[in-house]
């Protein structure tokens, strides 16, 4: 597809050198699966970007989706500038998001050399490093990059089974460092969550990382909010609508988040990305594969039935039996659940699972046995009135337009003291709110209008800076900015010879300048990690001391030069030739791709 996005000049203009491949080295190296995992069901990667001795690099395919974030194209342009600075032409491909998911991020490997997207801010990703790190392990379904590092592999496996928190933290720190040092991907930035709310009518907004005060992943704002006026109905404007009322079998729509207001998990996540008790009040690993939990007593389902350990057991078994798509991370490692008492359960895991207590039990949805046990085909079930134990109970749902829940008064989250405990100074006490109403406004412009007109109280989605500014031009509306733990990940295709050259990856990391991007485009609303570290400093797992190659284009070029790359007179980067080519070929072989020149005792070819 066309590189009309502004890639200047045209691809074939460079002057290639006569390929000179020393004995025993091929003249051209193709893109291939260097490690063959059974998750790959294709013969060869869909990407074809081969390397030829002495040849000018072809325009480098870079893909992104401007649906991902409004500024994603700007970000791609930044990466393009970095590549241009190295003498590489970029071929930008703006793809529909679903195509990116369905075609590029599929098991036959990435379609482009660089594929960028923002991770979703699921709370679990803030609490535990696994979701972001484990995808870099061998054979993981989400490892479309074909990334492999033996040491990282080892450490990640180990940490995933290490139930000792301190030990695990150490391993995770190491893992971050290895990944950053190896430049396993370009982690360019964490973009802030910008939104706007009515601060005249309400106080007590709680900013949660990745979610802001108004997202649906956390309900802290809603349970903490205090009315400044008579009206106790809190109206949130959103642009997406729920597809169904079936949370466990949701397929990734807004319902997956919004319905959690009705349900409780065994544990919950605080705005500080810490684990806090929910339906379970305590407990933990008894041994590596056994967890015992004590459950909260006196909890009732919204229909008045008491909540017991049976419900937990039922939930897990039911999910396992019918593959509850949205709850997989929770039930997947569980072997079985035993009811130890009315409010006591034992969970037997298949394998030691370190993340179980920090990730899997958090905000996992527990459903009432008495309402689900007779459902034959839960994936095609749409409960009329979803019943949970959560802080809000279901009132009304109008597909595509409206969703309404009302306060479950007895819920512990409405207990001022409890909240003060969890939220600290952010907690506000008072009568609280009565209802939460989501209204699908569908269009940002009318959303801003409605916010200013007082028809809605908050914007449930993120806004761009200019939108937020426009919204808060009204005295009752304020812009709210909170941090984010979901990184912008520029996946690198390790099937491609160029990427396998660590010297190149390091140079790439040095050539890209996310800092000025955050400054100029995001107007400072975002943070840039030190080094290629996907674990944000907002989380408790962050290692602030990882290798950071820093932004330095001339150093980057020096690195390439030393690795044997050359430039033609139009400053087009050429693959190494002759001896240097042999060295390049050596560096990209499986087992060397994480090693630098010195590690392989290679010459300086500059």
């Amino acid at each position: 597809s066309g590189g009309g996005d502004g890639g200047s000049g045209d691809g074939g203009s460079g002057q290639n050198l006569t390929p000179n491949a020393p004995e025993g080295t091929p003249e051209t190296v193709e893109t291939q699966y260097w490690r063959n995992w059974d998750t790959f069901d294709a013969d060869s990667p869909s990407l074809d970007y081969s390397a030829t001795a002495g040849a000018v690099l072809d325009p480098l395919p870079v893909e992104f989706s401007s649906e991902d974030d409004p500024w994603m194209r700007e970000h791609a342009l930044m990466v393009q500038r970095g590549l241009n600075d190295l003498g590489i032409e970029a071929q930008l491909n703006d793809r529909p998001l679903n195509q990116l998911y369905a075609q590029s991020w599929s098991t036959d490997g990435l379609d482009a050399v660089i594929s960028m997207s923002t991770h979703g801010p699921d709370p679990q990703r803030g609490l535990d490093p696994n979701p972001l790190l484990m995808r870099r392990t061998e054979g993981n379904l989400s490892n479309y990059d074909n990334y492999y590092h033996p040491k990282l592999q080892e450490i990640l496996i180990e940490q995933s089974q290490e139930t000792d928190r301190a030990r695990r933290e150490e391993l995770v720190n190491q893992a971050q460092d290895i990944f950053a040092e190896d430049v396993g991907a370009l982690i360019t930035l964490f973009s802030d969550v910008v939104t706007a709310v009515n601060t005249n009518k309400w106080s007590g907004y709680v900013k949660t990382p990745g979610n802001g005060p108004t997202g649906d992943s956390f309900q802290w704002t809603e349970v903490n909010l205090q009315p400044e006026a008579d009206d106790r109905d809190y109206v949130k404007g959103v642009t997406t609508s729920m597809n169904s009322l079936n949370l466990p079998w949701a397929a990734g729509g807004a319902e997956e988040k919004r319905l959690t207001f009705i349900y409780d998990g065994l544990f919950d996540a605080t705005p500080d990305l810490d684990v806090t008790p929910a339906l379970a009040t305590g407990g933990g690993f008894v041994d590596d594969t056994t967890v015992e939990l004590s459950l909260r007593e006196g909890v009732e389902w919204h229909d008045g039935e008491p909540f017991t350990a049976e419900d937990v057991k039922f939930t897990v078994e039911f999910y396992k039996e019918y593959s509850a798509s949205s709850q997989t991370p929770f039930y997947e490692p569980i072997e079985s659940v035993e009811v130890l008492g009315d409010h006591e359960v034992r969970i037997n895991l298949k394998n030691p699972d370190a993340a179980f207590m920090t990730q899997r039990v958090v905000r996992s949805v527990i459903i009432p046995k008495h309402r689900w046990e007779d459902v034959d085909n839960p994936s095609q079930h749409n409960p009329d009135n979803p019943v949970g134990t959560g802080p809000f109970q279901f009132e009304d749902w109008e597909q595509g337009t409206r969703f309404e829940v009302s306060r479950n008064d007895g819920h512990w989250m409405f207990d001022d003291d409890w909240r003060a405990d969890v939220l600290g100074d952010r907690a506000e006490s008072g009568e609280g709110i009565d209802r939460v109403i989501w209204i699908n406004v569908g269009n940002v412009d009318s959303m801003i209008g409605s916010l200013q007109g007082g028809e809605i109280d908050a914007v449930g989605t993120t806004l761009s800076n200019s939108q937020a500014d426009r919204a808060s031009s009204n005295s009752s509306v304020e812009t709210m900015v909170s941090g984010n733990f979901a990184p912008l990940d520029n996946k690198l295709a390790f099937t491609c010879p160029l990427i396998r050259d660590k010297e190149f990856r390091v140079a790439l990391s040095k050539a890209v300048d996310p800092e000025s991007f955050v400054e100029e485009v995001l107007q400072g609303r975002g943070s840039v990690p030190e080094g290629e570290n996907p674990i944000s400093d907002l989380t408790q797992w962050h290692n602030s001391d990882v290798t950071d190659y820093g932004y330095d284009v001339s150093e980057a070029r020096t690195l390439l030069e030393q690795a044997g790359y050359t430039w033609d007179e139009n400053d087009n980067l050429r693959y190494p030739n002759g001896e240097a080519w042999a060295a390049f070929v050596e560096r990209i072989q499986d087992g060397n791709q994480y090693k630098r020149r010195e590690d392989l005792d290679q010459l300086d070819f500059s």
Partner: protein, 331 residues
């Protein structure tokens, strides 16, 4: 069997054949699409391959292609649209309210415009060369050639943003929570939201009717039978009425065809005005790759057009005393 019955039978057979082919085309196109809604789940790391397989099996996606095809044909032709993958609801439950919303917007618009524009067009054609004719032609040419979303945007900017007469977006005010259709549609608030999209739809459709009516009259104007009518001493209006009656058929057929296409909604209009209609729903379903929903929606649309086509043909044959219903009419 009378000639008309024979003609009817032939048309019916063609329509049925067309339906089958159209439905098959939809099937093929959908199967050709890479990916499925589950991909999103895989990418987010929620599902493993085995779970994906289970879910696929649930939707019959693991069956051999011919089996899927047969199942699909049988179910869709019996109006068993199945369950929406993303919405955990029967597809029809999702589509029905959307369809109603679309129809409530477009049917009145179409009827209004058919009557008003045809009348205006006839009048313009009768007074060929008049200022009225010229200006109505310019206006309608603009309205029917400009993509509807641009007209809509112009209208929004003028009437919603600048004059602030009507809201720019949605079918009901954001805080309204009506119960049932009656409550939804019988309210001032609805009317308020209805006006702008309705007007744009009326204007958008108006061009074709006006030109059709105008050209029909212009064609008839010089004809011998009108001269005879005039010689009989009929008044201008009576003559116009006769000319109108004579150029009625193309308008009627066009109306029937348009009516069939209404089931497709005016996707762009619905998007711009945030009207929760079937077109907008379909775009969403396509983006989310909700197969069953897309399938059913496209099927309904195709069926509506085919039926409308049939109706148009039959109407034509029925209302035109001179049409020969024998052979293949030259459409």
């Amino acid at each position: 069997m009378s000639q008309f019955q024979r003609f009817l039978a032939k048309r019916l057979a063609i329509s049925i054949g067309l339906t089958l082919i159209a439905v098959s085309v939809i099937f093929v196109v959908l199967r050709l699409l890479p990916g499925s809604p589950f991909e999103a789940l895989v990418t987010s790391g929620n599902l493993n391959q085995q779970q994906i397989n289970e879910i696929r099996a649930l939707y019959g996606l693991d069956q051999p292609m011919w089996r899927q095809y047969i199942d699909y044909m049988v179910s869709i032709l019996t109006f068993q649209f199945g369950y929406s993958i993303l919405r955990s609801q029967p597809v029809w439950d999702v589509l029905e309210p959307r369809l109603v919303n679309t129809l409530i917007l477009l049917v009145p618009a179409l009827v209004t415009t058919a009557i008003l524009s045809s009348a205006l067009g006839m009048y313009a054609g009768w007074n060929r060369g008049s200022l009225l004719e010229k200006s109505s032609i310019i206006t309608t040419t603009f309205l029917r050639s400009t993509p509807v979303f641009i007209t809509a945007i112009f209208f929004i900017i003028v009437f919603a943003y600048n004059l602030e007469l009507v809201p720019a977006f949605g079918m009901r005010s954001v805080t309204a929570s009506p119960e049932g259709y009656v409550d939804t549609f019988l309210s001032i608030d609805f009317l308020h939201h209805y006006l702008l999209p309705f007007t744009v739809a009326v204007l958008y459709y108006s061009g074709d009717f006006l030109l059709l009516a105008r050209n029909g009259i212009v064609e008839k104007r010089g004809s011998e039978f009108l001269k005879l009518h005039k010689a009989k001493g009929l008044t201008e209006m009576q003559q116009l009425a006769r000319a109108g009656r004579n150029s009625m058929l193309p308008i009627l057929t066009y109306f029937a065809l348009r009516l069939g296409m209404i089931f497709q909604g005016l996707i762009l209009l619905e998007v711009v005005f945030g009207w929760p209609g079937i077109g907008r729903e379909l775009v969403l379903a396509i983006q989310q790759q909700d197969y069953p929903l897309v399938q059913a929606a496209v099927f309904i649309m195709a069926l509506a057009v085919i039926i409308a086509n049939l109706a148009a043909d039959v109407l034509y044959a029925y209302f035109d005393p001179t049409v020969s219903t024998g052979g293949g009419s030259s459409a």
